[in-house]
Symmetry: C2
Subunit: 230 residues, 2 copies
């Protein structure tokens, strides 16, 4: 499985499922600018992943990306079962974050994604302050190398750290980067896409907007502009 050619936007549906469904319904006219919708553990906790995916499927055929916040953080066998269950619930891609759990869990997660025909998207670095407190130097590089060996070609890297994005862009080559941490302005998206991200993940800027379609148009314009300057 692949996402559409970059750049394209990934709206993060961090909303109660009913509101998420309403939002998706209203974005029909801009789905050519959207790579997929990201749903989260908050939906799973609340109503179950199966129910959340089914409700969204009424209004979109785009890929649904599951962010367990975060998957791939447990023992390898449990990471694999999360993936199998997510696939069975109808998800298309799964974000894995092996920072705290190590290379065997990363391997178990990616292998299970292959077996279940899910697209694994592996996180290299988070966006928030103090995120790396307990990590060793070079953890992101080690994860990138191990994931690449396993055949992963989609990665998550912080959209609010352009200098890091440029570095990750050099590592990944023909593979793809998706990034949270990018605001509502077209200019911010342009900067992040120019620095290396292919798929900005946008949450509040879209779902809290009075006119989400207009926000997507604006961000997408920034994405195209940044992409053309690479």
């Amino acid at each position: 499985m692949k996402l559409k050619e970059p750049p394209a936007i990934i709206p993060a549906l961090d909303l109660p499922i009913g509101e998420a469904v309403e939002l998706v319904k209203g974005l029909d006219s801009v789905e050519d600018k959207i790579a997929g919708y990201k749903i989260s553990s908050l939906h799973a906790l609340d109503c179950g992943l199966r129910a959340a995916v089914s409700e969204l499927r009424v209004f979109t055929d785009l890929p649904i990306i599951y962010d367990h916040q975060k998957g791939a953080t447990d023992i390898p066998a449990i990471a694999a079962r999360q993936v199998e269950l997510a696939a069975d619930c109808g998800v298309n891609a799964f974000i894995g974050v092996p920072l705290g759990a190590g290379s065997k869990t990363l391997e178990g997660f990616v292998d299970a994604c292959k077996d279940s025909d899910l697209l694994p998207i592996i996180l290299l670095e988070m966006t928030h302050p103090n995120a790396n407190d307990y990590l060793k130097e070079g953890a992101a590089k080690d994860i990138f190398e191990k994931a690449s060996e396993l055949g992963v070609n989609y990665f998550v890297a912080p959209g609010n750290k352009p200098e890091k994005l440029r570095e990750y862009r050099n590592w990944v080559g023909d593979s793809y980067i998706t990034s949270p941490g990018i605001g509502a302005q077209g200019g911010q998206a342009a900067e992040a896409v120019q620095a290396g991200t292919d798929y900005p993940i946008i949450g509040r800027a879209i779902y809290q907007a009075e006119n989400p379609v207009a926000v997507i148009e604006e961000i997408y314009k920034g994405c195209k502009e940044g992409f053309s300057k690479r």
Copy 2:
């Protein structure tokens, strides 16, 4: 909120929810030896956390401990929302694993637990091979110190590493340790409890047993024996 005085067992209900309910129903006669039941993200994915807790509540009043596999691995705001939602779903305690997400996420998670009257249980080290691949030296100690400052007094430490358990026992003092990675034999539980764990978390050894009640009796005997030798 507190768990009952140690030692006591925490069965891990890593089963489809219907089977988990059947198991819990059959353990009524040994609930005096059980500190609480651990449920997992697999239940949340499948049917939603709210539904899973409600079904179990029909047959037990013991604490229900939620293991998101793992919580506290995202940005602080999301970690907090996971906690609030878990509390709203009727969970009593939440296992948090900030290894990959850092001290601000740990803080957001624990603060949200306090606000929601949930017991936070913080993981110091995992059980499986290569778990520490991406972590810096001393990460467990840093997490312990930060969590203690925040008022946490329940921790998760590996039941299959007795030498580490002894070290963690010295750190935690009057606080409590709960541990996965302990097998079905009373002797293994005795060794782990003597080394420092207060609450063995037991999965397959209980739920795959022909006679789960007898297994709990046997493990509990080992727990008492190990506890008396501390």
